[in-house]
């Protein structure tokens, strides 16, 4: 009786290993998991609105045009 019980248990345990779990790794697009970064115009030496900060940088970037600077 005990031997039969052990047999059925071992068969059940053995067959349960036959189930095949899916092994394909699904592609997950990364989601940033780190600390939040402050906006450059919110913290730091100058506290500006986004529009002001953007306008300043745009002017500064435009100064790289040496045709405008020389003439």
């Amino acid at each position: 009786m005990i031997a039969r019980g052990v047999f059925f248990l071992s068969v059940a345990a053995g067959l349960s290993a036959c189930a095949e779990a899916p092994q394909d790794a699904a592609h997950k697009s990364g989601k940033y998991a780190g600390k939040v970064d402050a906006k450059p115009y919110e913290e730091g030496p100058q506290k500006l609105t986004r529009a002001e900060w953007e306008r300043n940088l745009r002017t500064r970037a435009d100064n790289q045009n040496d045709y405008k600077r020389m003439n």
Binding site: S29, G30, K31, Y32, A33, G34, K35, V36, D37, A38, K39, P40, Y41, E42, E43, G44, P45, Q46, L48, W53, E54, N56, L57, R58, R60, A61, D62, Q64, N65, D66, Y67
Partner: protein, 208 residues
């Protein structure tokens, strides 16, 4: 909304390495780490030699961000690709994915163990309090928060290296190419900012 980009004008770059020096000095970058470097093509070939200054291009669809196993990369609302060094495990996947070889790894100990990745931040620091000591030690200076553009571009003596809002840079470059009538190629621009299947634009015909 600004979309920060780099453009290197190969017709103007004189391989002076001023950008490299400016970057290293500005951010106190350790020995062995080069956030920016100058690459010369056709070295010594008369008329065909071109130099370009290369660093992280802050790609529109950044491959480093896609492959990072710990998701330490993020993109600011201005299109600057940054990363959190507290999360980085120094695996080097980003280095293999980057078409520009931008990610750098300081040697962190004996036996060539890699430290946390370091790369160009477009002079905009990282996820620490803006312009704080902690930010400077981990990521370098935050010039964008100070209202300045990246040091490499502002230091460039021939203005070969341009940095800033993509619209402004396009206007500057267009005017240059129109005036000189050649040199319209923008090295790495299609790779960084174009569609994946986009081909590089042919250079305009030389005026005779």
């Amino acid at each position: 909304m600004a979309r920060m980009k780099f453009i290197c004008d190969a017709e103007r770059c004189i391989e002076c390495n001023g950008c490299v020096t400016a970057c290293k000095n500005e951010h106190d970058v350790p020995w062995g780490v080069n956030r920016r470097r100058v690459v010369t093509l056709n070295d010594g070939v008369i008329g065909a030699e071109r130099s370009i200054s290369v660093a992280c291009m802050h790609c529109s669809d950044a491959p480093c961000q896609a492959v990072c196993p710990v998701d330490c990369f993020y993109k600011t609302e201005d299109g600057v690709v940054l990363h959190d060094k507290d999360l980085c495990i120094g695996c080097g996947y980003c280095f293999y994915a980057c078409p520009f070889g931008a990610p750098q790894f300081p040697q962190a100990g004996a036996f060539g163990v890699r430290g946390k990745m370091d790369k160009c931040t477009f002079c905009s620091g990282g996820p620490e309090v803006n312009t704080s000591d902690a930010e400077f030690k981990k990521y370098g200076r935050n010039r964008l928060a100070e209202g300045k553009l990246p040091a490499c571009a502002e230091m460039c003596s021939t203005k070969a290296l341009l940095a800033g809002d993509g619209d402004v840079l396009s206007d500057i470059y267009r005017e240059r190419v129109t005036r000189r009538g050649r040199g319209g190629e923008m090295w790495g621009h299609a790779t960084a900012y174009g569609r994946p299947d986009a081909k590089a634009q042919p250079s305009p015909a030389v005026k005779s």
